[in-house]
Amino acid sequence: MRIAVLRPQVPFARGGAEIFTDRLVDELRARGHEADLVSVPFKWYPGTRVLTQAFLWRMLDLDEADGRKIDVVVATKFPSYLVRHADKRVWLVHQFRQAYELDGTPLGQFGDSPEERALRRKVQELDRVALREASRLFTTSRNVASRLEASTGLAAEVLPHPPQELDYRCQGYEDFVLSVNRLDRAKRIDLLIEAAARDSELEVVITGDGPDRERLERLASDRGLDGRARFTGRVTEAELADLYARCLAVYYAPVDEDYGMVPLEAFLSEKPVLTTTDAGGPLEVVSDHATGLVVTPEAEEIARALGWLREHRDEAASFGRAGHAIAREVTWDRAIGRLLA
């Protein structure tokens, strides 16, 4: 089949959705499909730019390319699913979250004026119209499916996908706890730092980069964690696999995350995951005292839980192995089989 994978592109930014869509194209090609990535830049501010930039997708003609039919388009996140196509399959990574669950929080975008309130409603209306057109509607997690149903009344099939390809392995359980995340506030790395401030034996390695890095480094310094909190910045794939292989556990506590690949990556390295009761998608695979620990989003609780894992390494390893059994069931063969069925 000739398949176009659709991805909005925020220039100079790269995250989970980019890794996912690149990989999807590769995996489709590996299965004999003619697949390509279609990107359109996306800027969601100021004012109504979120709508006009979204509208660009509506003007695309993806019925065919260079005289040959495109059989299927696979849209992934807002606003790529505004595209018109006879076989539009949506594999939803997330909606435009500022218009939904992030509205009214510090991570929201729309103010209280009548115009901004109406703007938010227009984004919701776009979702309702465009997603209703889909011939198949999938989400990457139950969390995303639940939000979608609550906001639009549309039911979606849950279709998880595997994480990025790394040389996953387990080389024991050293003393440090690993954080793998873009450094922005929603990922709540500050809770991990505050936990380390409460437990003098807790060592943390914080990978990734992002707009919150400076604040987090200052916080670690203010709390006197020099030496116990290491910021690595971006790491190579080999370095990341090595950190996964050696860490004691992985900390992953974003606010209401869509899906989150990090727990699956940790599991493939046989590592337990510490997450929080409000983390959203991660809770679909991280179960308390089964594949990791789930605590309230408070530094005290996080410190206590990580201390417990340090003191109970056999249990930590057993949680990691239980996670491994879950993660290896999530394969591209299964995902693509259902996507194209």
């Binding site: 109504t48 006009t52 509506r58 004026s113 009548p114 309130r117 409603r121 776009l126 119209v129």
Partner: protein, 411 residues
């Protein structure tokens, strides 16, 4: 966003006052609501959008429509037929000329002549005898910037009446079923009918069907709750059908706790009417919350209830026969009652949940207050970009852009 909320409120005893008492707390979680005191002439200063609850009762709604006519806003149209309201605000204020003008505007010279007949007391008041034929909605619609309605029926009638603004169809919110003792009106199956007892509620037909069903199922008790309309000869009808001695339980007006108790103690709820004024029914909504199987008339809002929740009886020449068959089924089959009741409770929790309804209200209000500004800004930016690359108005390219905008409701 600040919303001025015009509605009857408790302690006024109207269904819409009860409705607003339920809705306002949930709406306040989403927008800044000021409930306007009864009699206020216009919205308070700083209001972004005014919301007017309009029903057919002039005692409850005339002041609201007066305010609407001074400051247009979003109208919740609880009834489509507003003749009684219009009469109250014209004839009732000794302004017969206004009534005649409105009748002529909507129904031509014939309307004006009929209006004269009413004013001269040559024919019965149309708001009592034939309101459904002369609904007079324009008196309100012409001042509405948007509409909130509870049914596709009213939406379609408003469109047919020429209303071109935005219309949001929002379900009637459901009261959570209170925990009340079940008051049983009979030992066998109890069929409850709640509301004013009169012909438009199809009580004559219900009595005849009940008498018919009781031939095979004497265990059936019909419970009639509500005041009897003046002139409706209930007792004589009961005597004639043999229901006076046995098979009928009667209560007049009851307070809210007893209403719930009697409903909870009923096995089936019947809520019929013809003609419809486009209204909803608070009794039906309460019945959904209680998980009761329903029998309703196949008209207006009632016809839009899902089939697995309500059996529908068309008000045609076999109405009594259809109603008899519906009651026989529900009296004889407890499994059907249970399945329909479960579907009713599920519907109340899903469609009519007050938080969901409040969210739909908030969306309608926010769109009404700021939607035009957003649409204008989008169209301006798109048209400027098109003009920059040489696409001018009334070209095929411009038409395609317009079509695509309309597809996603941006144009």
């Amino acid at each position: 966003m600040r919303v001025a909320y015009f509605s009857p409120m408790p302690p006024e005893q109207t269904g819409i006052a009860d409705y607003s008492a339920l809705l306002v707390p949930a709406l306040r979680e989403r927008v800044d609501v000021t409930v306007v005191r009864r009699g206020a002439r216009k919205p308070p200063r700083g209001t972004d959008v005014a919301l007017y609850h309009v029903g057919n009762n002039p005692d409850a709604h005339a002041w609201i429509v007066d305010a609407l006519r001074r400051a247009p806003g979003v109208v919740v149209l609880h009834d489509f037929v507003l003749h009684h309201l219009v009469a109250g605000m014209t004839v009732g204020r000794r302004d017969g000329h206004a009534y005649l003008d409105l009748m002529e505007r909507e129904h031509g010279v014939v309307g004006r002549l009929l209006g004269h007949g009413v004013l001269d007391k040559r024919i019965p008041p149309l708001w009592e005898s034939r309101p459904e034929d002369f609904p007079l909605p324009t008196f309100v619609l012409e001042h509405a910037t948007g509409l909130i309605v509870h049914s596709r029926y009213v939406r379609d009638r408003a469109r047919a009446a020429g209303f071109s603004g935005p219309i949001s169809a929002v379900p009637h919110p459901a009261w959570p079923a209170p925990s009340v003792p079940r008051e049983r009106a009979g030992d066998g199956v109890v069929v409850g009918c709640f509301g004013v007892v009169n012909s438009s509620k199809r009580v004559p037909e219900l009595l005849r069907a009940t008498a018919e069903v009781r031939r095979e199922h004497p265990e059936l008790t019909l419970l009639l709750v509500g005041s009897t309309s003046p002139g409706f000869d209930l007792d004589r009808r009961l005597q004639r059908l043999g229901l006076a001695e046995d098979g009928l339980a009667r209560a007049g007006w009851v307070d809210e706790p007893r209403l719930w108790s009697l409903m909870a103690g009923s096995d089936v709820l019947v809520n019929l009417r013809h003609p419809t004024m486009g209204e909803t029914s608070g009794s039906v909504i309460r019945g959904l919350s209680l998980g009761k199987p329903l029998v309703v008339s196949d008209v207006g809002w009632f016809a839009e209830l899902p089939d697995d929740v309500a059996l529908k009886v068309a008000p045609d020449d076999v109405e009594v026969e259809t109603l008899t068959a519906a009651l026989e089924l529900l009296v004889a089959r407890s499994d059907v009652r249970e399945a329909m009741g479960a579907a009713a409770a599920e519907l109340a929790g899903r469609e009519h949940e007050v938080g969901r309804v409040a969210e739909l209200y908030a969306a309608a209000l926010e769109n009404a207050a700021g939607g035009d500004a957003v649409s204008d800004a989008v169209l301006r930016e798109v048209s400027e970009a098109a003009a920059d690359v040489g696409i001018s108005a009334n070209t095929a390219e411009a038409r395609e852009i317009a079509r695509r905008l309309a597809e996603v409701e941006l144009g």
